[in-house]
Point group: C2
Chain length 152, copies 2
Amino acid sequence: MDDRDAPAYFALFNEIGILSQLSRAALEARLPNGLLVTHFGVVNHLIRVKDGQTPLVLARAFQVPKTSMTHTLAGLERHGLVEMRPNPKDARSKCVWLTDAGRAFRDQAVADISFMMAPLAEAFAPERAAALLPELAALRQVMDAARDGEDG
Amino acid sequence: MDDRDAPAYFALFNEIGILSQLSRAALEARLPNGLLVTHFGVVNHLIRVKDGQTPLVLARAFQVPKTSMTHTLAGLERHGLVEMRPNPKDARSKCVWLTDAGRAFRDQAVADISFMMAPLAEAFAPERAAALLPELAALRQVMDAARDGEDG
DNA sequence: GGCATTTGGTGCGGCATCGTACTAAATGGT
DNA sequence: ACCATTTAGTACGATGCCGCACCAAATGCC
C-alpha cells in the first residue's frame, strides 16, 4: 500500500468512530430509562428478521462476543421485553422470543427516534443515507473477512 | 419525515456502529500492550494539529466527556507518551505536551497500522474510502449541530 | 475589594463490554 | 455404545466510559 493511502483509512475510521458515538448518544436519549441502543437493536432485529433465534445467532448478527449478548438479553428479560425459552432442537441452547411489551417498546422507540430524525432528514436527505449504505456494507464485509479471530 | 425514510437511517447507524467496533478491534490489535485507539487518537491529534492543548479542548475535539479525556490522558502519561504541564494562562488548567516517546509511538503505530491495512486496500480501494469521507463528514456536521440544539 | 457564578480538572461509583474459564449437551470417529 | 472434541451458554473478573459531585481558580457584577 502506498503511504499516501493510509490517511484516507485513518480519516474514514476516525469519522466512523465519532459518528458511532454521536448516533449512539442521540438514540439513547430517546430511549426509556435504562435501555441502550444494544437493547433496541436486538428487539428491532427480532422483529425485522424473526424472533425465536438463539443468543449465539444474535451475537453473530451483531458482531459481538457471546458474553456481551448474554448480558444484553438478560437486561431485556429483566425489563420483560423478551422471553427466553428452551430450544427444542438443542437442550444446551435457548430461543429468544419477543413479548407484547417488547413489540410495544419497539414501536414506541421507532416512533420517538423517527421524530427525532425529522430535522436530520432536512439537512441530510434519506437518499444520501441510502446511498452510503452499500459502500459501508462492502467495507464491513471486507473487515469481517480480514478479522483473524474466532469467537462464535 | 416519511415513515419509509426511517429505515435508511436505522440501517446506516447500525452499519456505522458495527464498523466502528470492527475498526476499533482491528486497530487495537496492532497497538502495543495496554494502549487503546483513544490513546492513539489523542497522540495523533496532538501531532497533526499541535500539542500544548488543554484537556478540555481535546475532549471537545473528540466529542467525549472531560472525565473520559482525563482518564485517557492519565494513561498516556503513565506510559510516558505525554507530559502534563501547568497552563501559564490559567492556573486551574494544564497543557498536554508530547514526549519523544510519544512521537515515536505514533510513528510506529502509523507504520504498523498501515501495514495491517495493506490487504484491506486490495479489497476496498483507498479511492472508495476517500469517496465516503465527505458524505460522512457532512453527516457528522449535521448531527453535531443537532446535538448542540439540545437542552443541555 | 468582596462575593456569586462559571469554568477546568479530578475522585468516585455505576454500568457496559469482553476475555477467560467452566458446565452441560451435541457431534463424530471408532 | 464409548469417549474425545466441539459447541451453547454463563459466571467471574478486569477494564474502559461517563455522570455526579466536588475543589480550586477565574470571571463578572456591585
